[in-house]
Subunit: 233 residues, 2 copies
DNA sequence: TGACGAAGTTAGGCACGCCTAATAATATTA
DNA sequence: TAATATTATTAGGCGTGCCTAACTTCGTCA
């Protein structure tokens, strides 16, 4: 892993802590067996994880005895669980994702979402709850997009085009809608898939968009810009 | 790592692919040196990663020669970059996060967000762009919450209370607002931090909330429920 | 009490992903 | 062209986190 984890625990240890947290809440204490079953690992892996968690003072652990959380362990586990919950609720209530899918996605996200993002997501959800018209507007737009069709994402037109970029942003071209007059113009310049575009300026009305591609300066009309699917940086 | 990665590449290899993607876009080809500098790793680590990526047919790699992406490598890199971009834009434009912070968070998220979530986020952003009143409403609420104050998240009242739960959901109590008459009632029952609550039913008006705690059945008024900070499951 | 089975632990192996140190290939410059 | 500097590769080591296999501890029941 390259990205610096500002967290005190690895994703894996967070998972162990979660399993202990929920088991302790339900039964008063956790046994290695429970944890192994929940996480789908062997008992020996649990022992190893418990030793590490005990070293870090997150669990009370004596060999062969039931496991409980320390105060710090409880706090840490609660933070992770909170992130999981907020992310899942956001997926379900705002993005309209299926419950089961949302929960699985949240299992991955709980390890990488920062607390600041989680809090802001919670605030956003509060806003959405207070404004149901927005909720319905979003779900309508989602339905139009028909996310559940069988088409692979790579076939559908990408969600980002040059028209979505802000001044100063860079992007890589992934497709140019064929048939557009622009397509020929760009191809004539030897451009296309893989080329880097840089937005130099956008007029206040959003219409002429000045871009730089491979040293060339171009002015694109909004409709032309919207025909160029890109991946932004 | 316990959570099953449905991805074809590890987070680490995705990072290498990203570095190659942007370098190739800017300069036509990448050298190991560039990649090492961008990712903050040693050259020998780059060689190892390149060999793995070449095995998986994501890069064209011959020892001592410049590196380019295969068609599959380009597609994969573009997908990751797209996720990064959409997540960052969401953080900045909807959650009002600082650009630099958003970018760093997105670096972590790009590896765990599913394509379905990314697409839905893009759709949500489209909606927000078309409804600026929502944008401003959210930022106002965010400002009220004052996310930038110095208080640690653990001190502020948690964002989720029993009143936020839906029927059937479970949660763990993390705090009961002192002063509430309910606090005594719960403490008398031996409850508090760490106890499991289960919502059995919510009246249509949302007012009496029936919950089960440690076998006891309770009916809570909405104001009481809102005094119990929990972590939902 | 002593034997048995379940639960838990230790020891050792493997894959990943980073590192350092030594070596090899390529570029640059005299 | 030869010496040197830069860049890249190999070899071997270390931490993490999983595994299997062998062993220990604990609780139960005859």
């Amino acid at each position: 892993m390259i990205f610096e984890s500002t967290r005190s625990l690895s994703a894996s240890l967070e998972d162990y802590l979660q399993a202990i947290f929920w088991t302790v809440a339900a039964k008063g204490a956790a046994r290695a067996k429970d944890i192994a079953r929940q996480l789908g690992v062997k008992a020996s892996s649990v022992t190893g994880a418990l030793q590490t968690l005990a070293e870090k003072k997150f669990v009370h652990y004596q060999p062969y005895e039931a496991i409980t959380l320390t105060a710090e362990g409880f706090d840490e586990a609660a933070r992770v669980a909170q992130r999981h919950f907020i992310v899942r609720e956001f997926f379900v209530r705002v993005l309209g994702l299926d419950e089961a899918v949302a929960d699985k996605e949240a299992c991955r996200m709980e390890h990488c979402v920062g607390d600041d993002v989680a809090e802001r997501l919670a605030t956003l959800m509060e806003f959405v709850k207070a404004h149901p018209e927005m909720q319905s507007g979003v779900s309508q737009l989602l339905a139009e997009r028909d996310h559940s069709d069988g088409m692979p994402a790579s076939v559908r037109r990408g969600p980002v085009t040059v028209a979505d970029l802000r001044s100063g942003q860079k992007a890589v071209i992934v497709a140019v809608r064929s048939g557009a007059a622009l397509a020929r113009r760009l191809v004539d310049m030897g451009l296309g898939r893989g080329a880097l575009v840089e937005v130099e300026g956008v007029a206040p009305t959003g219409d002429p968009i000045r871009v730089k591609i491979r040293g060339y300066q171009l002015a694109l009309r909004r409709t032309e810009a919207a025909a160029i699917s890109v991946v932004g940086k």
